[in-house]
């Protein structure tokens, strides 16, 4: 029997369950390796070579190289693990979280100062809140070079 996933109707949200964990095992363990200063240095010196030491999928490696955290999460990444990449890049958790919304850093920071993203319209898929699929990307960063 497949896992029961009552959380699949929440917009803009991926729950890190056993299926995601299995999919992302090597990606997340790669992230974990960045907890060591010498590994951070080796990764920074040659990212692709360092990634090639891990049995990750090509999509996972490309998502890391692109620093596309939504893509990383779709490939099984978990944000607490992915945060180690951000730390290696000297990014704050706010910069990382914001990068997944399509907003610029400033737009996202302003949203938080004004009380954060509203829950209204963002509880269930099919509503009309700003986290719904038909309203992406949300900000100027996501529209850069877009059409």
């Amino acid at each position: 029997m497949a896992l029961d996933k009552p959380y699949n109707d929440i917009p803009g949200t991926t729950i890190f369950d056993a299926d995601q964990s299995r999919l992302g095992y090597h990606l997340n363990q790669f992230c974990m390796s960045l907890m060591k200063a010498e590994n951070r240095a080796r990764f920074k010196a040659d990212e692709r070579a360092y990634l090639d030491e891990w049995p990750m999928t090509e999509e996972q490696k490309l998502a890391v190289l692109a620093r596309d955290l939504n893509r990383c999460i779709a490939a099984g990444g978990n944000i607490y693990f992915l945060a180690k990449i951000g730390a290696t890049d000297s990014k704050s958790f706010q910069q990382m979280a914001g990068s997944m919304t399509g907003m610029t850093e400033e737009e996202y920071r302003d949203m938080m100062i004004k009380g954060g993203r509203s829950i209204e319209g963002n509880r269930y898929l099919g509503e009309d809140g700003d986290a719904q699929p038909h309203r992406q990307p949300q900000g100027k960063a996501g529209q850069k070079g877009g059409n």
């Binding site: 974990m32 509880r123 990307p137």
Partner: protein, 284 residues
């Protein structure tokens, strides 16, 4: 005999730790957060615990995906502040209380909660940020700490009911420890926040404040809240709030005693991506 004198609840946002470490606590953005904990820092000075039993979650620091214990009790003599990727936080080493921790493990496991016993563990911001918020930034922490890590990283996390009942078992264990220790139990994490995907930045102040009300007045009912309500209403990382129910389950009123006194309550948005909530409930 040992006794749980109070429970303390608090968010453990990593950016709060960074603000402390970088000397930003007086800046306009951060000052309201730190001011909100000032009455508790004073109260902790006047009512110092002998031991803190600190419920927190590890954020892919001590536990990778190699092992994911649902409940892990730190029984070591000391715990190092972890390097989470930015270098270790410049905070004092955390000293444990191996004797009480071993007693709690023995009692709680025989009470049907299968704890993982951990004799080596670095502790991350989930533990050290609440220490700073309650004790400031001393040269050495004022008391030993028993770290108690809960899995809230990989779904499913333990239910609120399970956490609440575990708190009761921890209470029974502490009650039966044969030394006159004043023990505080802290529940950390939350409140509403989501760190991932297009819904990142979610805050639900109305829900958070209702949670605080119910934690004070209706903990038994609150323990029945489903995982889905936490995730849907408080964000994918808001589910950390189940940990607060462990601390609440250890209080007098849910174990046949009288209702606690609310010493302090504080709520603030934002700290980075997160709503900061804080509560002090006193049994005395």
């Amino acid at each position: 005999m040992a006794k749980i004198t109070a429970s303390v609840y608090s968010s453990h946002v990593p950016a709060i730790g960074a603000a402390i470490d970088l000397g930003k606590t007086e800046e306009a953005y951060w000052k309201p957060v730190f001011d909100g904990f000032a009455p508790t820092r004073q109260w902790e000075k006047e009512n110092p615990p002998d031991v803190v039993f600190l419920v927190f979650n590890d954020h892919a620091t001590a536990f990778s995906l190699e092992m994911i214990p649902t409940f892990a009790i730190g029984t070591a003599a000391e715990f190092q502040p972890a390097d989470e990727g930015w270098g270790p936080r410049p905070v004092p080493k955390v000293y444990g209380h191996p004797e009480l921790a071993a007693h709690i493990a023995q009692s709680v496991i025989q009470d049907d909660f299968d704890l993982t016993i951990v004799n080596k563990m670095d502790v991350d911001h989930g533990l050290t940020v609440p220490m700073n918020l309650m004790f400031g930034s001393p040269e050495a922490w004022p008391c030993p700490v028993i770290p108690f890590a809960v899995n809230v990283v990989q779904y499913p996390v333990p239910s609120g009911r399970r956490c609440f009942n575990l708190g009761k078992a921890i209470r029974r264990a502490i009650d039966s420890f044969d030394k006159p220790l004043n023990v505080q139990i802290w529940g950390t994490g939350g409140m509403s926040h989501q760190l991932q995907g297009p819904r990142a930045g979610l805050i639900n102040a109305e829900w958070d404040n209702a949670f605080l009300d119910r934690l004070i007045n209706d903990p038994e009912g609150l323990a029945g809240m489903s995982h889905m309500e936490y995730v849907r209403e408080a964000g994918s990382e808001g589910i950390e709030l189940v940990m607060w129910l462990i601390a609440r389950g250890a209080m007098d009123d849910v174990n046949g005693g009288k209702a606690p006194t609310v010493r302090h309550r504080f709520y603030h948005v934002p700290a980075s991506n997160t709503a900061v909530g804080h509560l002090v409930l006193d049994n005395t």
